[in-house]
Symmetry: C2
Subunit: 267 residues, 2 copies
């Protein structure tokens, strides 16, 4: 067997996309992975469309030099507003965002068509999930909720106990009052709070994470082999120390060595 493996690049504003990498590694054990976290400018979720597009294009430009089989925009905020910019800039490179797969999974999982979407301010403001769900299922009614505290809770490691439960109740109760039967974790930080969210919404509401459906979407494409390796190379734009400290709980395993790089302005 002398076949080349696919080389898949993933980018995210920070550590959150490691939850997506985790799923992709399980699905593509022979792939060669590159991961870029833009930790010098994280988070993207509170920033404007224009700024997130600029950052995403800079990140994608750095990664595409590596002769990729596919690129994944793991950050929901970047997927929501910058995917078209990235796709347009690199014709011929398969580029995947997390919104479409998550929206399709939510539309399929809902009985009642009443769907809640949790995301950052930017993702909610973009209406990207709402539009993607309604494109598949016109009868669906979508309620969106920005949950900025979930990011801090996930990064602090406060994922059980009183505080996350109270916070989750405050964010989710207005959605539950609408009778939703599916809730989408529309930010890569939120899977760390999945248990708390499931406890608050109860067993009759399905919690959807985009990472699984995204991995499935990649398997449906024939990714060209690009590498003889099946490793992981991680880059950050700030000093890697904090990324490594926080990131391993997101990835669920060791990160190996992490290199700091600079992203250049792209005209």
């Amino acid at each position: 067997m002398d076949q080349d493996n696919p080389r898949i690049a993933i980018f995210d504003s920070g550590v959150g996309g490691l939850t997506v990498l985790r799923e992709l590694r399980a699905t593509f054990p022979d792939a060669d992975f590159l991961y870029l976290g833009d930790t010098a400018r994280v988070p993207y979720g509170t920033k404007s469309t224009q700024t997130v597009c600029r950052y995403a294009v800079e990140a994608a430009t750095f990664l595409q030099q590596f002769d990729l089989s596919a690129m994944v925009v793991a950050c929901n905020s970047a997927s929501a507003v910058a995917l078209d910019d990235v796709v347009t800039r690199f014709p011929g490179l398969p580029v995947f965002g997390v919104i479409a797969p998550g929206a399709a999974a939510a539309a399929a999982a809902s009985q009642t068509g009443k769907i809640g979407v949790l995301g950052t301010e930017g993702t909610v403001r973009s209406n990207a999930y709402k539009q993607a769900i309604n494109a598949i299922r016109r009868d669906a009614v979508v309620w969106q909720q920005a949950c900025p505290l979930f990011v801090s809770l996930a990064e602090e490691g406060w994922v059980t106990g009183d505080v996350p439960i109270l916070v989750a109740r405050r964010y989710l109760e207005p959605l539950l009052e609408q009778g939703i039967d599916v809730v989408v974790l529309g930010c890569t930080h939120y899977p760390l709070l999945r248990q708390v969210i499931q406890d608050v919404v109860g067993p009759d509401v399905t919690v959807v994470d985009s990472a699984g459906p995204l991995a499935l979407a990649l398997t449906e494409n024939r990714l060209q082999g690009r590498s003889r390796e099946h490793g992981l190379k991680v880059f950050t734009t700030d000093d890697p120390a904090r990324f490594v400290a926080v990131g391993e709980s997101f990835l669920g395993s060791s990160l190996g060595s992490v290199s700091q790089i600079s992203l250049e302005p792209v005209s």
Copy 2:
């Protein structure tokens, strides 16, 4: 009266420094103010020393073109690690950080010499408050606590009720067990949670905010007049919309017009 007013520039990673601007406007009603929030790269508190120094120098370089009487580094994280870099780069310009005034106020307010400092990860890691307090008062014992959730709570406007009280208890109880009698609000977001923090620490613990002592430190310097105006000009590095929406609760009044600018790399 044809005298010139001082022109004071303030920079911060985002909206938090508006709590400092508020205090300075009250102290210097005739001054002409410039405020820069680096909202495209906020927050600084989770970023490395090297990255925060780079950002702070870029911000200071932008502001110093305005013929200033004084520059204030309102962000505690930037004051903690980048003040010397800014001072060295602009000799002749009076540059003020928030750490020294806050540390002096804390050292003076403590009876027991047991002092708690709340700050970002970066501020805590730098030990800047601890060193500044011990430089004034060698007998003081300082405990530091990073409180990342306070930033999200302040920006969400969740400054009363169950959630902030539980979060504040979790951060403060280890300090209270040490018998502190002073706690320093070592991040410009935290004054919005002042009431909750005071309620949790109880009436026997003094809560110190750097903004008042900083304003006093400026009055002790003879600031040269630079402007015939006494207005406010606000700049941000990301789209101003969110800054304006969140910022007015920090400033306690209208922001007027806000201009988006780009910061250039400084070699």
